[in-house]
Amino acid sequence: MSISREDIEKVAVLARIRVDEAQISALESDLGNILNLVDELSAADTANIEPLSHPLDAVQRLRTDEVTETNQREAFQAIAPATEDGLYLVPRVIE
């Protein structure tokens, strides 16, 4: 199965990855090849087969509602690209 330039552009927007013209051409062939590989799936007979999202048939454990975390803002913000007054800064968000 091939993937169109439009699909690649759309997916790149969803994934928030900038791609330029030259990259799109390369991706058309690379992603197309990967999708060809993946298309073998369509041949499998999966009628009445339950999807498996996890290898072990386990159930979720739940945590007691107790505060276990302490304030580590200083340590976390020491490795942040931009902070001020304890806030993470990003270019202005327009609602």
């Binding site: 690379d30 073998e40 369509s42 499998a44 996890h54 386990a58």
Partner: protein, 485 residues
């Protein structure tokens, strides 16, 4: 000393023949002298290692030593280490110094082991050749005499190469589709991918959450057992961690193999495998027969669909797992973002390498409206069929044996032009991750002077049986002792 195993080094330390500081110094010197050639480390933590070694020596002097106290090892640079850069082989995290430890990291710390540094890897563990690392390719210590530089395999190529080159006796690793077994095979060392859920994933930077599993690499099966003793166990911080007793994996290493039922999946002895490789694997199986095992052919009828299912599920999970790298809270951020979208798209375009971007885009596509059922849901159904294959096979046999990779270490750059060719490198290892069962790679011979691995696959939580089988093999063979020239 650098040719000794972890078990041997531990005994040397215990006997007082050498101190941990001396041992640590010896390995650090080797890294300094030789790693220019291999590039197997991203970060070497010399000062911290020597300080930890000193503490270990004090502990030992005080009679408070365990097996690991003072023994040097290394972490794949995917395990978060408090205060030490953790990059996942990516520009995105080149400056990332986590203020917390992975559970695996904390476990080794508690055991008193001395971490020498962080080993190189494919970016975000996506690769089978270690060529996608932002910090440069890793060179396999094997095959250098031919004049070509060969890949160590991936994604845990740095750990495998460092062990093969005797820069470190053991190293942690992770395996999402073969990332422990394939580099172990290509570098002639022993590696174990445990059952999914056996080792905590907390603080292990995620690639594909339902497939990722931390594991062990060392030269001997016994050392793998010693590592797993430290790594395995329930972790309340990981919801997918399994609350189940952890045996002493060294306790059963010497069990006789008489009556071990070995299955050879016919699908793994296929056209993709070169006759020379197949010969080595079949010779290894013969050794098992000599040790008392019975061998029969079995079938994993859906094995051929594993690559296709994997290249939907792994990229899909990765596409979401890697969304957190957005330049807001940590890691790389592009220069002078013009607006929010610019911040996101440029940070991610500049911070991720090509293979990571390809997989994010494939995964995004597979999950997007209109494709979800045909790709993601279908892949999950196939995943169940693949799991069922293993469940059925283990009704008949105790372990499965197969090749690890279709060919030995290839020359750097040989597969980088076509991602799909590279993906086929993992054709024999990927189904194991989809099913979640444990598997090992054990050195089993050479082809053209390059190591060949034997894959041993076990039923869920049967790591002890695999380690036992590998250890017994290593008592009658010496492939794992061979040194690259």
């Amino acid at each position: 000393m650098h040719n000794k195993s972890v078990a041997e080094l531990s005994r040397e330390l215990e006997s007082g023949k050498i101190s941990s500081v001396e041992l640590t110094r010896e390995f650090l010197d080797r890294i300094k002298a030789e790693d220019k050639l291999y590039n197997s480390f991203i970060t070497v933590t010399e000062d911290q290692a020597l300080a930890d070694a000193k503490t270990a020596d004090e502990q030992r002097a005080a009679g408070k030593a365990s097996v690991w106290t003072g023994v040097p090892f290394a972490h794949k640079d995917i395990f978060c280490t408090n205060g030490v850069a953790t990059t996942a082989g990516s520009k995105m995290l080149a400056n990332f110094v986590p203020p917390y430890d992975a559970t695996v990291t904390a476990n080794f710390r508690a055991a008193g082991a001395v971490c020498l540094g962080k080993t190189n890897m494919d970016e975000f563990a996506m690769g089978s050749s270690n060529e996608s690392s932002f910090f440069g390719s890793v060179t396999n210590p094997w095959g250098l005499s031919s004049g070509d530089k060969r890949v160590p395999g991936g994604s845990s190529g740095g750990s495998a190469a460092a062990i093969a080159a005797r820069l470190v006796p053991a190293a942690t690793a992770t395996d999402t589709g073969g990332s422990i077994r394939q580099p172990a095979a290509l570098c002639g060392i022993t590696g174990l991918k445990p059952t999914y859920g056996r080792v905590s994933r907390y603080g292990m930077i995620a690639f594909a959450s339902s497939l990722d599993q931390g594991g062990t690499m060392a030269r001997t099966a016994e050392d793998n057992a010693l590592m797993l003793n430290v790594m395995a166990g329930f972790d309340p911080k990981d919801s997918t961690s399994v609350d189940r007793a952890v045996p002493d994996y060294t306790a059963t290493l010497n069990e006789p193999l008489k009556g071990l039922r070995v299955g050879l999946p016919k699908e793994y002895f296929s056209d993709q495998l070169s006759p020379a490789m197949e010969q080595q694997v079949r010779n290894a199986v013969k050794e098992y027969e000599k040790l008392g095992a019975t061998v029969k052919e079995v079938s994993l009828p859906h094995a051929k669909l594993a690559i296709a299912a994997y290249y939907v599920i792994a990229p899909a999970e990765a596409s979401a797992n890697l969304s957190r790298f957005d330049g807001v809270r940590y890691g790389y951020r592009c220069e002078n973002p013009q607006d929010l979208n610019d911040l996101y798209t440029r940070t991610r375009a500049e911070g991720f390498g090509d293979e990571v971007k390809r997989r994010i885009l494939v995964g995004t596509y597979a999950l997007s409206a209109g494709y979800f059922d045909a790709y993601y849901l279908k892949a999950q159904k196939v995943r169940r069929l693949i799991q069922q294959d293993f469940i059925n096979a283990f009704k008949e046999v105790d372990v499965l044996m197969s090749p690890v990779s279709p060919s030995p270490a290839f020359v750097q750059g040989a597969n980088t032009n076509d991602p799909v060719t590279m993906y086929l490198e993992d054709i024999f290892t990927i189904a194991v991750n989809l099913a979640g069962v444990p598997a090992m790679s054990v050195p089993a011979g050479f082809v053209d002077g390059l190591p060949v691995g034997l894959q041993i696959i076990g039923n869920y939580f049967e790591e002890a049986r695999l380690l036992n089988a590998a250890h017994q093999f290593q008592q009658v063979t010496d492939w794992h002792q061979k040194l690259p020239q």
